[in-house]
């Protein structure tokens, strides 16, 4: 199988590492070769963060380059706009419509762009945008936004619901399992 590329982008602290861990666990059960590349350290502190997940018969590079991503899962709308150049021509963006102002916007040195969703679609990019934060809150915690997004991404993969649920059970603490399962299903069925 040709290598598939999934980028998970967002703002440091939003829980993208758990999302990549979940995806990695799931892919391992299918016997794929996998590489997951993460960001630790200074960039994590509220900055723009990106995680690369690659799987296939044989994966060499740990990172995804411009024009290579099959999917970009974005935890925040501006971050979706930031990374579109990394998407393949026929790739797809799954995005949370939540907006988090970066510091240059907060202090008035820059403006948060208007009409991001329209601009992405106008560029001919397949965009699946939805309010993952509300779904996570409905499930019981804003922190489950990562799992709600994975639920939405799951629609484009041929894994069964049971397989996803098992990977969630392997990745989150038991006391938050029900909450996360609910967030996943809300995202998957939204």
């Amino acid at each position: 199988m040709e290598t598939k590329n999934v980028m998970i982008v967002g703002v440091g602290g939003q829980g993208s590492l758990l999302a990549s861990k979940l995806l990695g666990r799931l892919l391992l059960t299918r016997g794929y070769d996998i590489k997951v590349s993460e960001v630790h350290g200074m960039s994590q502190r509220g900055g723009s963060v990106v995680t690369y997940v690659r799987f296939g018969d044989k994966v060499y590079s740990p990172i995804i380059d411009k024009g290579e991503a099959d999917f970009i899962v974005s935890f925040e709308l501006l971050e979706a706009a930031r990374w579109t150049e990394y998407l393949k021509k026929d790739g797809r963006i799954v995005a949370n419509t939540q907006k988090i102002n970066p510091m240059p916007v907060i202090i008035g040195a820059a403006e948060y762009p208007e009409g991001i969703e329209e601009h992405i679609r106008a560029a001919g990019i397949a965009l699946d945008a939805f309010d993952a934060l509300s779904l996570a809150e409905e499930a019981g915690s804003a922190k489950a936004v990562n799992i709600a997004l994975m639920g939405r991404l799951s629609k484009y993969f041929d894994f069964s619901e049971e397989e996803w649920m098992q990977a969630i059970a392997d990745s989150v603490p038991a006391k938050f399992l029900e909450l996360n399962k609910k967030a996943f299903l809300l995202g998957r069925n939204a």
Partner: protein
């Protein structure tokens, strides 16, 4: 069983399987998780040392005692440990000794992008360089074998993309290996008479290691049908080459980057038309090839700066490069910021407000340099805030008195701030040092240190009394403030700067991200009282923004630290 593991976790697994029993390290991105992960194996004693020099010397002691030992650090940490390093090369080892060092090409979380491979050549110590997690595990085990067989410390050289990428590994069994301690002054007492006899041993060892490099499968030739070009490469650059060109061209993958083979390189060069060297940072392999009279294409094409990727290889070889679409022209940057509730914010607000010159240091508080606080004047290396402050104040001959401070975190102060403070007291400069005591090593992800009262395993440990320590080295004026209290912090800073004597202010408040820290909950905004003065925006808190002219608090971020409340003159916050 196959498992997905971070490169750093795979090194830890390799330490475990390789029979390591002693680990001493200092945290530093991207090396930290090696030591955190190995601490989870009950068979391995693991600790955080106050700095890398102490860590390496402790590992030496364990090796001398006959145990397999490891110390881990980031590239700049190896500079701190360079003193024991160069002589460890002469003494060699008893139990196997492995030194983990992780470079940070692209400077994701570092102050420079130095190339640690130079240390291997300079100190004449072999260096293994894994390209993924499976190799990280295998090479770490091999490193112990080589260490004991060749009587030398051995480097495992990681980099951000290998350390922080998960890939598939297969776990093996642990071997146990302990040697008896035997007194051997000629080998371990490095005074001139003995050291002169050890130097030729080191040179002979390198010759034997070159022979190993010629034969070992760790330096592997992968044949390709098309010999119009060929690549000599290692580490993550190997992955980018394979990603870009597949199996078409021959590749010589160096798993041991020092010492390098000679004949193997010559043979490879002879069978390809165009010889490329693909390596991040300096032209280390390239200069070795040049010394052999082989003239590869290297740094003329592949940059000395930053990280590579598969597109770097494609571009530089003139291959088609995938293109994406830019949908939004002006996407504002999102730089890292101090977290909401960060105790450093209040202090930096006070320093910026009073236009104080601030010599900074390495840690989360380096983010005090970022607008709108823009509070720092310099950041050089661990400890340089304190010692740099001394030189600055002395050289300004009074002009810096009363308006200059150094800021340093608790862990960094333990690492290399204490000696600078001794210098301030001993050579009497009118310097004010502020220790930002947030009770944890923050930036690298919450590691314990000698000020926290806990050790790496989370067990209770001796806790340094910072106030007593400062007084003991000769600083008479030691003040403690809570940086959430702006008025008290400003008073303390002004009093100390006016004192005309060396002094230390301890700005003490635990990191807001620590699990045990309880927060009062988000600040509420009374929109009717908000006069849109933007005073609350001066502290650069990510939880506060202005919407339709009124201050708005992000309830998912705000901890209720109350620093913004003290800035609002109208009672809106």
């Amino acid at each position: 069983m196959k498992k997905l593991m971070l490169g750093n976790e795979a090194v830890a697994r390799g330490l475990f399987e390789g029979g390591c029993t002693f680990v001493s390290s200092y945290p530093g991105t991207p090396s930290t998780e090696i030591t955190e992960a190995v601490a989870r194996y009950k068979e391995v004693y693991a600790e955080w040392a106050p700095n890398e020099k102490v860590a390496m010397e402790s590992a030496f002691g364990a090796s001398l005692a006959g145990k397999r030992a490891f110390c881990g650090m980031k590239h700049v940490g190896l500079n701190v440990a360079a003193d024991p390093l160069f002589t460890l090369s002469y003494t060699g080892v008893n139990g196997g000794l492995v030194i983990g060092v992780a470079d940070d090409a692209g400077m994701h979380s570092s102050q420079n992008e130095q190339d640690s491979r130079h240390y291997a050549r300079a100190a004449k110590i072999p260096m293994l360089e894994p390209a993924d997690s499976a190799e990280a595990l295998a090479f770490t085990k091999l490193a112990f074998t080589l260490s004991e067989e060749y009587d030398t410390p051995v480097f495992i050289k990681m980099c951000t993309r290998v350390s922080h990428s998960q890939s598939v590994v297969e776990e093996g069994e642990r071997v146990e290996s302990v040697k008896p301690y035997k007194k051997d002054p000629a080998k371990y007492i490095m005074m001139p008479g003995n050291a002169k006899k050890r130097h030729p041993v080191v040179e002979e060892r390198t010759r034997r290691l070159v022979a190993f490099a010629e034969e070992s499968e760790i330096n592997r030739v992968e044949n390709g049908a098309d010999r119009s070009m060929g690549f000599i490469t290692s580490s993550t650059s190997y992955q980018y080459v394979k990603e870009a060109v597949g199996d078409r061209y021959p590749v010589l993958k160096l798993g041991m980057i020092w010492p390098m083979p000679e004949q193997k390189l010559r043979d490879f060069a002879a069978k390809v038309e165009k010889l490329y060297v693909v390596e991040e940072l300096d032209g280390f392999i390239e200069s070795h090839l040049n010394s052999l009279g082989l003239s590869p294409i290297g740094k003329d094409v592949f940059s000395i700066l930053g990280e590579f990727s598969q597109n770097t290889v494609r571009e530089n070889l003139g291959l088609p490069v995938p293109q994406g679409t830019v949908a939004e022209e002006n996407v504002p940057q999102r730089p890292p910021v101090m977290c909401a509730g960060c105790p450093h914010r209040g202090l930096f607000y006070v320093l910026a407000k009073n236009k104080i010159t601030v010599l900074g240091d390495i840690g989360c508080y380096t983010l005090g340099a970022v607008p709108p606080l823009s509070a720092l004047d310099s950041t050089l290396c661990m400890g340089a805030s304190v010692s740099g402050l001394h030189g600055f104040v002395k050289a300004m001959e009074g002009a810096a008195d009363g308006n200059t401070v150094g800021v340093i975190g608790d862990s960094t102060f333990m690492h290399s701030g204490i000696t600078g403070l001794v210098n301030i007291a001993y050579n009497n400069s009118n310097a004010t040092v502020i220790i930002l005591d947030n009770s944890i090593t923050g930036m690298t992800g919450h590691q314990q240190n000698p000020t926290t009262g806990l050790n790496l395993k989370g067990d209770p440990a001796s806790k340094i009394d910072l106030e007593a320590l400062c007084r003991a080295v000769g600083i008479e004026r030691v003040t403690v403030v809570d940086p959430y209290d702006l008025a008290a912090t400003e008073k303390a800073v002004k009093e100390e700067l006016a004192s005309g004597k060396p002094g230390v202010i301890i700005s003490r408040r635990a990191c807001a991200l620590l699990k045990y820290v309880k927060h009062p909950g988000p600040i509420k905004v009374d929109a009717d009282k908000c006069r849109s003065c933007r005073a609350c925006m001066k502290i650069g808190c990510p939880a506060i923004s202005m919407q339709n002219g009124k201050a708005v608090i992000d309830n998912t971020l705000c901890t209720g630290c109350g620093v913004c409340t003290q800035l609002c003159k109208f009672g809106a916050l």
